[in-house]
């Protein structure tokens, strides 16, 4: 399967989705087109709106805000998840004592936390970053925690016998061994970082893609809503691609 063929297949899927969408919003094939259009808009106007945003340049500021929030949430949340994951995995007592609290915290509905974050961090980007962190952190944390425990016992014993102290074990054994676990969770959490930022903006903000989407929703401008989501997706794919690049480099030893 070469690259060109793959990309054409991918584009085919996109075309199929758009055609279905278009049919649904203009013909009666999938029920009342008016209702469909009310909820989904139609692809042509969505694309046109995206085009307008891009060419008029009005989107860049909002995108920039959301981008900073997501990236910060992703970086901080992932770093926290990795650190705590390692810490818990290496300190069974800490893990045992705090286990129920971590799990309980993971069950808090983030939407309800938004006012508290607004109180602590204000209405600027940091409350959104905090919201994103609460999603990213747990996803990464649980995976790193498990990943560290999956280290091959023989390799671990060997490293110990080679004289590694705890810090060196972390660097030379636990970290590389847990990397594939970590990256798996990073792929999930790229999306969640963005979701966190957007939901935060949605619940209270002055800029960002979530703000745009909410504004559009408030006046039932579904075209605007979908255009916003479309920009969002494009941008997540970009970030995920970057994560993939890093992954490829760090996991080179696994070969193809």
């Amino acid at each position: 399967m070469n690259r060109a063929a793959l990309i054409s297949l991918q584009i085919l899927v996109a075309v199929a989705i758009v055609v279905l969408w278009h049919l649904a919003s203009t013909t009666t094939l999938f029920g009342n087109p008016k209702t469909v259009a009310f909820f989904f808009g139609d692809p042509v106007s969505v694309m046109r709106r995206v085009g307008e945003w891009v060419f008029e340049g009005s989107i860049w500021y909002h995108l920039w805000i959301t981008l900073s929030e997501s990236i910060l949430a992703f970086l901080i949340g992932a770093a926290g998840g990795v650190l705590f994951g390692f810490w818990f995995a290496r300190k069974p007592l800490v893990a045992a004592v705090f286990d129920p609290y971590v799990k309980a915290a993971n069950a808090l509905p983030r939407v309800v936390l938004a006012p508290i974050f607004a109180l602590w961090f204000g209405l600027g980007i940091w409350s959104k970053v905090a919201l994103g962190i609460t999603l990213v952190f747990f996803i990464v944390f649980f995976n790193v925690y498990q990943g560290v425990k999956e280290v091959s016992p023989t390799v671990l014993s060997n490293a110990r016998m080679l004289g590694m102290n705890e810090r060196q074990l972390l660097r030379h054994v636990y970290l590389p061994s847990a990397l594939s676990w970590m990256f798996s969770s990073l792929h999930t959490s790229v999306g969640f970082a963005v979701v966190g930022a957007v939901v935060g903006e949605y619940l209270g903000s002055a800029a960002g893609l979530g703000y745009l989407i909410q504004q559009a929703e408030g006046v039932f401008d579904v075209t605007g809503v979908f255009a916003g989501m479309f920009v969002l997706m494009a941008f997540v794919l970009l970030v995920d691609w970057l994560v993939g690049l890093v992954e490829k480099r760090l996991l080179a030893w696994r070969g193809r």
Partner: protein
Amino acid sequence: MQAETGQTPQDAVHLDGVAISFDLAQGRRFDAVAPTDLAVGAHQFVAIVGPTGCGKSTLLNATAGLLKPAQGAVSIFGQPLTGMNKSAGYLFQQDALMPWKTVIENVAIGLEIAGVARAEARREAQGWLERVGLSAFADRYPQMLSGGQRKRVGLAQVLIRNPKLLLMDEPFGPLDAQTRLIMGDLLLNLWSEDRKAVLFVTHDLDEAIALSDRVIIMSAGPRSRIIGDYTIPLARPREIGEIRHDPLFNDLHRTIWNALRDEVIAAYRQTGAVSDTKASVAS
């Protein structure tokens, strides 16, 4: 020929009534090694032989500090062992290379973590790879090596650290007979420089006798014991390719072989599969 095991403070390894058990499921226990005394002098090369599954690796693990004995005490160079054995280098029976490091990184790591500068560690590692015949493979990852090549990388990884006590679990297992000889010579040369203490598990009785000062025989498990402790009075330095022609070598070989054969038959009798194979256990 039973050698005495009286304690002297300079013993490299001193096992005092060490017994090892494993917890199985449902609260059952498996007593792998019965209370065992063993002393390895500071400059002694001791080989351990015994039927498969008798507890050789288990004993090495206890000496390395990786397994806590159910009873008894381990001391290393006169100090009671708590936690890891820091003066030992251990070549594991299974693959234990770090798959995310290249061959040369795997070899150099032991020096690097001891504080040797990276370039210097690499240089030494390259030297060791040459010695084990793998200098052309320095940049490969372990998964891209054959079984015997991996084992030799492990050997270099352990030897480069120059530990005072060497624990080696079938280090030459997956090597062809010729390479085995080369590696055996390498080990002996190295050993003769400063005479480290060595605990050497092997299934090759020729190798055990050719290399070591003492050969320990363990009984079949469970509750395996040391049932033989033979001193090898062959002169040093030895050429392991040549020494097999020494008549003393052949005497020792015969004695130990017979002791071992009885053990293996005993082991098989326990599992009820020995009847039709007994006849062939002879050499």
